[in-house]
Structure formats: structure tokens, C-alpha cells
């Protein structure tokens, strides 16, 4: 049995460290926002989780194209792993957003374009998992998964764009935006640093999780192969 590669162990260590630093910075270093108070701290991990979600879906579409071109099973594992991670972090993103929205917008949920798109995205990638579940042949499962990941990824920005034309109340913190939108704020340098570290930390977390997931898939495939050898 192959043991964990050195690089992966190193990545795990770095991930744990940088996550710890990010957590400390969020609670101990970043100042409390004047208007919103402590609940604003949700913002750091909220955006970072959304970032990982998008990263996952992007990785899945790249893996999908790579699979259709090369037909190498490992790309299917990458795609599946990326989508599973993306789904999880997008859910974290939606839930943390909801926690923030309750005191700030005075509601758990609004039909804002980003919220709506994020949720449609969750449903879309849940459908991806259901599609895979319904197919026995691993080669076909990989092919259909790749196709659906590509179609879904093209549809998501169009969905966002369509709903966007309705007026949005979601704050756009990065790159300015409309200051009259309820819940927007300007970042102090300490906040900016915390935010940047959170993004980096979550990116490491993503890479590490994805790597583990791919290894898990490969080990699973080997188990299948050994089982077959035994029964033959």
C-alpha cells in the first residue's frame, strides 16, 4: 500500500497552521466593525468558503474537459472530488451568509442574485451527484459527469447575470460598489490582512482536501480491483 506522499503531509501541516492563524486573526486581530459589530466577522470565512466553492466548480469543469479529451479515470476523480468539496463550502457560504443577514438585513433569506445563484448552484451540483448515482458503468458515469459539469458551469454565470438585472441588495465589498446598499462597509488594513489570510488559508484547505479525496478514490478503485481478482 502506498503511504502518503511527503508533499501531501507537508501540505496538511501548512493547512492546519495557516487555518489556525486565520482563525486567530479573525477573532483576535481584526477590529470589530463600527456599525455591524461582531457579526461582521462572519464575512471573512463567508467569502473564503464561497471562494473555495467556486474554485471547486472551476476545477470540476477543467477536470471535465480533461477527462473528455484524455479519458483518464483520474480526471473523473478530480472532478467528483472538486464538486463534493465545492458543494460543502458553498453550503457553508450560504449558511454563514444567512447568519449574517439575520441581524443586518433583518431576514434569513432574500431573493438577491448572489443568494439565488448560489442556491441554484447547490441544486445543480446536487443533481450532478444524483446523475452519477443512477449510472452503473464507471466509464459512462465519468463521461456524463464531465458533460454535466461543463454544462452546469456555463449555465451558472448566465443565471447570475439574468437575475442580476433585478436590483441587488447584496453588498459588494471588494472593488467598491454602491455605499447605499445595506450592510456594506469599508475595510481597514487589519481587516484586509485578515481577509487575505483567510482566503489563502481556505485555498490551502481546498488543495489539501482535494488531494485526499483523489487518493481516497484511487484507493477505492484498487479495492474494487482486488475484490474482482478474488472472486474470479
Amino acid at each position: 500500500m502506498k503511504s502518503q506522499p511527503r508533499l501531501l503531509i507537508g501540505l496538511d501541516v501548512v493547512t492546519v497552521l495557516v487555518m489556525a492563524v486565520a482563525t486567530y486573526m479573525v477573532f483576535g486581530y481584526a477590529p470589530i466593525e463600527r456599525v455591524m459589530g461582531a457579526v461582521q466577522k462572519v464575512f471573512y470565512f463567508h467569502v473564503a468558503a464561497g471562494w473555495v466553492g467556486m474554485l471547486g466548480f472551476l476545477a470540476a469543469v477543467v477536470a471535465g474537459v480533461a477527462y473528455l479529451v484524455s479519458r483518464k479515470p483520474v480526471w473523473d476523480l478530480v472532478g467528483l472530488g472538486a464538486i463534493e468539496i465545492g458543494l460543502t463550502f458553498m453550503l457553508i457560504n450560504i449558511i454563514t451568509g444567512s447568519i449574517w443577514a439575520r441581524p443586518i438585513w433583518n431576514t434569513w433569506w432574500t431573493w438577491d442574485p448572489r443568494l439565488t445563484t448560489a442556491t441554484i448552484m447547490e441544486l445543480l451540483y446536487a443533481a450532478y451527484l444524483m446523475l452519477r448515482q443512477g449510472i452503473e458503468d464507471p466509464e459512462r458515469r465519468a463521461r456524463f459527469g464531465a458533460v454535466y459539469a461543463i454544462i452546469g458551469f456555463i449555465s451558472v454565470p448566465l443565471t447570475f447575470f439574468s437575475i442580476r438585472i433585478y436590483r441587488t441588495i447584496h453588498p459588494v465589498v471588494i472593488g467598491g460598489g454602491d455605499p447605499t446598499v445595506s450592510g456594506s462597509f469599508s475595510m481597514t488594513p487589519a481587516m484586509g490582512a485578515t481577509f487575505a489570510v483567510s482566503l489563502v488559508a481556505f485555498s490551502f484547505l481546498f488543495a489539501s482536501l482535494l488531494w485526499h479525496r483523489i487518493r481516497l478514490g484511487q484507493l477505492g478503485a484498487r479495492v474494487e480491483q482486488m475484490k474482482l481478482k478474488l472472486t474470479e
Binding site: 473528455l68 446523475l131 443512477g134 454535466y148 461543463i150 454544462i151 447575470f161
Partner: protein, 225 residues
């Protein structure tokens, strides 16, 4: 190119000829569409005031639900008797098969629309044909819907869970087309000025182009082993 068009035409002709004879697909789509409208009538209390705002939504939900039924059936017929293999054995480009099926499905949806619209007009004493633009919107919306729908139905019928799979796969993907189609339709129905409808029409057209070309590009991977 001639071989491509010949094969495409053959697939369309085959679907229409078979449907003309059995009328299974169209009749189930139609009955289903009318039932949806009646259910909406009771669920939403479609009085004159409510109707003005929701007509386009009701129409599109009706088309979409009925369309799912038709798409599933259209591709299941190919799968069940091995006909999909029969099509794939032919020395023609796979995209000719895709476009043939997609065009046939589009025709079925338009036939359903052509019957639902006058019925709706009579039931609610409105003339949906007064605005010619609405017909264009229905054409463009149905095109985008069947373009993705044909591709996803081809995947769904090859899965174990196929009867429940198609709407789950299709609806989240096709939302942009629906949003644009509903907005453009209600623009026409509420007689908004053209400059308010035009952006939605342009979006709808752009979505059609995007979805049709992407489906065209990946269809081969869906049917080839």
C-alpha cells in the same frame, strides 16, 4: 454537408411520421399542459388583476413541465428498442442525430404552444396573439429549452433512475433561458415599450446560441461509448 442534411432530415421526418401516427407524445404533453393551466387557475385565483402579472409565468411553467414529458419520451423511444444503437450505427455525423432529435422536439413543443395559446385565450378572454412578438419569444425560449433538454434527456434515459432524473438535471441548467423568456413574454403581454423588452430578447437569443453550441459540442460524448 449533403449527407449531414440528409441524415438530419431523415431523423426529423422519422420522429414526426411516428408521432403523427401514434400521437402518444403530443397528446400526453397537451393533456398535461391543460391540466397544469387548470391547476394554476385554482391555485392562484387567476382573476383579471392577478392574470396580468402571472400569465407569462403560468404559460412558461406549463411549457416547461409539458416539455419535460415530451423530451423524456422522445429519447426513451430511442433507448428502449435499441434504436439509439441503430442511429449510431449509421455512417453519419453524431451531431446530425442531435440536431434531428432537437428539431423534432422543438416542433413538438411549438405544436403544444400552438394549442395552449388559443385555449388560454378563450379561457381567460384575452388575445395572446395580439402581440406577434410573443410568438417569437415562445420560439426562442422553446429552442433554448429543447437544445439543452435533448442533450440532458439523452443522458437521463441511459441512467437507472431515468424517470425522475430529467427535470432535476434540466431545470437548474435552463433557468437563465426561462428567466429571459418569462420577462420578455410578460413585457409583450403588458405592452411595455420595446426598449424594455429588447434586452431580454437579446439575452434569450444569446442564451440560445450558447446552449445550442455547447450541446452540439458535447453530444458525441453522451452517446459514444
Amino acid at each position: 454537408m449533403r449527407g449531414f442534411l440528409r441524415a438530419l432530415g431523415a431523423v426529423v421526418w422519422k420522429d414526426l411520421a411516428a408521432e403523427l401516427r401514434s400521437r402518444e407524445l403530443l397528446s400526453s404533453m397537451l393533456v398535461f399542459a391543460l391540466l397544469v393551466i387548470f391547476i394554476f387557475n385554482f391555485a392562484l385565483e387567476l382573476d383579471a388583476v392577478a392574470r396580468a402579472n402571472v400569465t407569462s409565468g403560468v404559460l412558461w411553467v406549463t411549457f416547461v413541465f409539458a416539455g419535460t414529458l415530451g423530451l423524456n419520451r422522445s429519447l426513451a423511444v430511442e433507448k428502449d428498442r435499441g434504436c439509439l444503437d441503430g442511429l449510431l450505427l449509421a455512417p453519419v455525423d453524431r451531431t446530425a442525430i442531435y440536431f434531428g432529435k432537437a428539431i423534432a422536439n422543438l416542433v413538438f413543443m411549438l405544436v403544444v404552444a400552438a394549442i395552449v395559446l388559443p385555449v388560454y385565450s378563450i379561457l381567460y378572454n384575452v388575445n395572446l396573439f395580439a402581440q406577434g412578438g410573443l410568438l417569437w419569444v415562445i420560439f426562442l425560449g422553446a429552442e433554448g429549452y429543447t437544445a439543452v433538454g435533448t442533450l440532458l434527456a439523452a443522458m437521463a434515459v441511459q441512467a437507472r433512475t431515468r424517470d425522475i432524473l430529467l427535470p432535476i438535471l434540466l431545470f437548474p441548467v435552463v433557468i437563465p433561458v426561462l428567466v429571459a423568456a418569462v420577462k420578455a413574454s410578460s413585457g409583450y403581454l403588458q405592452r411595455l415599450p420595446m426598449e424594455e423588452i429588447l434586452p431580454w430578447l437579446q439575452l434569450l437569443l444569446a442564451y440560445d446560441v450558447i446552449f445550442t453550441s455547447i450541446a452540439f459540442m458535447v453530444f458525441e460524448s453522451v452517446v459514444e461509448e
